[in-house]
Amino acid sequence: MIILADIIAATVLFAVPLLLVALGGMFSERSGVINIALEGTMIIGALFGCLFLNFADQGGWGKLHPQLAMLAAVAVAAASGIVYSLLLAVASVSLKADQTIGGTALNMLAPAFAIVLTWAIQGQGKTTIYIPNWIRITKATLGMAAAAGREKGFWETLFFKSMFLTTPIAFLLLAAAIVVMYKTRFGLRLRSCGEHPQAADAVGINVYKMRYSGVLISGFLAGIGGIAFTIAAGSGFQSTVAGYGFLALAVMIFGNWKPWRILGAAVFFAFFKVIGAYSGSLAFLPDFKGVGSSQYIYQMLPYIVTMIVLIFSSKKSRAPKAEGIPYDKGKR
């Protein structure tokens, strides 16, 4: 039973960054801009978030108010994500450049920039920014007495083994995303710009402003997703997010550009990812006798399963109609 709690906790932990970043991608694409730079934006968010946490740790005040410091780190990550995605917005909305090209440039820039900056701050060759260990939410954080002396039970493992502030934040942001997207005037306008910008413009919506908003919101979410991933991965920031930004793109398409389905897709994908990681310690999984290094089979599994699901759900899949096409007022 403990292992079940472990798996659920780990699934949630890894679903959170995928969920956040895929929601970010959704905002950008529903406004009509393909944001392939999510990977880079995550790296920038994680970089500045982790630098802030380190700064708080060295200042000594982080330990005193761990969750407050964590909240501030999330804010820093979000802000840096917004600033970074501004580069994409300027190129693809104002300058009407090719969105994939601009995004690719930003994806390349982010890890290089992170390495160079980490070196500059920490000294040559020190490529890892370590994350302080006080950021985890424990029973003590909530004012409960820690169960001393005995093995951790099911519920304790489920809720307190790997719980970080980013998890509740992610669920709040999911709720906010649903409300903004479907219950506000802003959401309706944003979606209309991704479907038919000319029509939106004709009824007086500022398409450029909407697309800027979409891209910046995606930067906000991807920045938070970046730090959420780094915390989940657990071994510090090494100027990479291991392709999670691209996976989030897949999750977004898998989720059909809709928030609830994106949640489902993120959990689905994270579950198979965790199964892959835990494959060695799960007795009920077949161990493929005669095949060496069968962990690779399980590591492949999430990608293969996603492929199959994508093929079968492709009939219903519907991308925003005008995504990827720069909006030009003068064109019909």
Binding site: L87, L95, T100, M108, V116, G243, M307, L310
Partner: protein, 384 residues
């Protein structure tokens, strides 16, 4: 003035100029970055970036050696771009190509050209599947290729782990996490040097760059001089119109991805059959495939221009290695990404240059002041 105008009016010239301007700005940006980190050594750093690649014959060999696989992954991405597809899966195709080549060379003990054909086949399979998914089920090729990058990575690891005959420790080396040294396993599988290695005094030199250039020329001919190439490009420009004109867009989509896969696969083969490098069991995707994207973008998907853009990127990467340990070599990546970012924007500048030139051609010969504006305009646009 008239000659200047006509010269700028040519599309290829405008492309070249806009790329050149991007490169210059990117390098200036890189120099400023070096200044910001260490103003005393910045001059040394930029000298290494600009001139290390030609400082000795061995360095030239290194540039060409790294350029060969880059040309091929660049061609792979560019070929798909021409058909309106974004092949972000060059990395996976590259790895699978390398795997097929090494298996054929080491375990099946075939000569290098057979191994190279196998590499092409492996890459083709890894391109065909995303192509088919796009053509038959309309699954976005970006997503499929990303998935197949990772599937390829783990599949290759799984395959190598279960093929003891391919690993280095089977041939007396201590390492079990990499493939055998080709010289020990099957020297016939090493790409011949034709004496080029003696000419440049470097073991890295072989005919791989010549193969890459030849393939680029073939790709250029296929795209620009054949009906098939025309159909592919038509699909890229406007899919609906090409279907209306009787072109089988589905077949072309699948074929284009397959060819892109072939090219990236050959890239993997060409690099790992050089005999100077061994495939290590990896945890992350190899960057050579991703580096094909900036190569293709800088060349604006033109196969011939790809040769030059790959050589350029390889050249400044060698320069970046040479400026270590004073500076992190990732500064080169920053320079490249700035160049790509600017070239995304400069596509507009290019359009502007040609449009201005064309407009003035139509109008009556205008006063000299008017025509002189064209080159000035382009500069202003690029810097703003």
């Amino acid at each position: 003035m008239k000659k200047v105008r006509e010269f700028l009016g040519r599309r290829s010239v405008a492309s070249f100029l806009s790329s050149l301007i991007s490169i210059i700005i990117g390098l200036v940006f890189g120099y400023l970055l070096l200044l910001a980190f260490d103003s005393e050594k910045a001059l040394f750093g930029i000298k290494q970036i600009l001139f290390a690649g030609v400082s000795s014959p061995a360095k030239i060999a290194k540039v060409l050696y790294q350029a060969a696989p880059l040309v091929l992954t660049g061609l792979s991405v560019g070929f798909a771009f021409k058909t309106g597809l974004f092949n972000i899966g060059a990395s996976g195709q590259y790895m699978v190509g390398a795997c097929f080549a090494l298996y054929t060379g080491i375990v099946l003990r075939q000569p290098w050209y057979v191994a190279m054909t196998a590499a092409m086949l492996g890459g083709a399979i890894w391109g065909l599947i995303p192509g088919l998914c796009k053509a038959l089920f309309n699954v976005n090729e970006v997503i499929t290729s990303i998935m197949f990058n990772w599937i390829g990575l783990f599949a290759v690891n799984l395959f190598f782990s279960n093929t003891p005959k391919i690993l280095a420790n089977y041939y007396g080396s201590a390492n079990a996490n990499r493939t055998a040294n080709l010289a020990a396993a099957n020297a016939r599988a090493i790409i011949p040097t034709l004496g080029l290695d003696k000419l440049l005094k470097s073991p890295f030199m072989n005919i791989s760059i010549l193969i890459a250039v030849a393939i680029a020329v073939v790709a250029f001919i296929v795209l620009n001089r054949t009906t098939f190439g025309y159909e592919l490009k038509a699909c890229g420009f406007n899919k609906n119109a090409s279907i209306y004109a009787g072109i089988n867009a589905k077949r072309n989509t699948a074929l284009s991805m397959t060819i892109a896969g072939c090219l990236a696969g050959i890239g993997g083969g060409i690099y790992y059959l050089s005999g100077t490098v061994q495939y290590t069991i990896e945890k992350v995707l190899l960057s050579m495939g991703f580096n094909g994207i900036p190569v293709a973008l800088l060349a604006q998907s033109n196969p011939i221009a790809t040769i030059f853009s790959a050589t350029f990127i390889s050249y400044i990467q060698v320069g970046g290695d040479a400026m270590q340990p004073e500076f992190a070599k990732e500064i080169i990546d920053i320079i490249i990404s700035v160049i790509i970012y600017l070239s995304a924007v400069s596509l507009l500048v290019k359009g502007l240059i040609t449009r201005l030139a064309e407009r003035k051609k139509e109008a009556a010969p205008s006063p000299g002041q008017d025509t002189a504006q064209t080159p000035d305009d382009s500069k202003q646009e690029a810097t703003s």
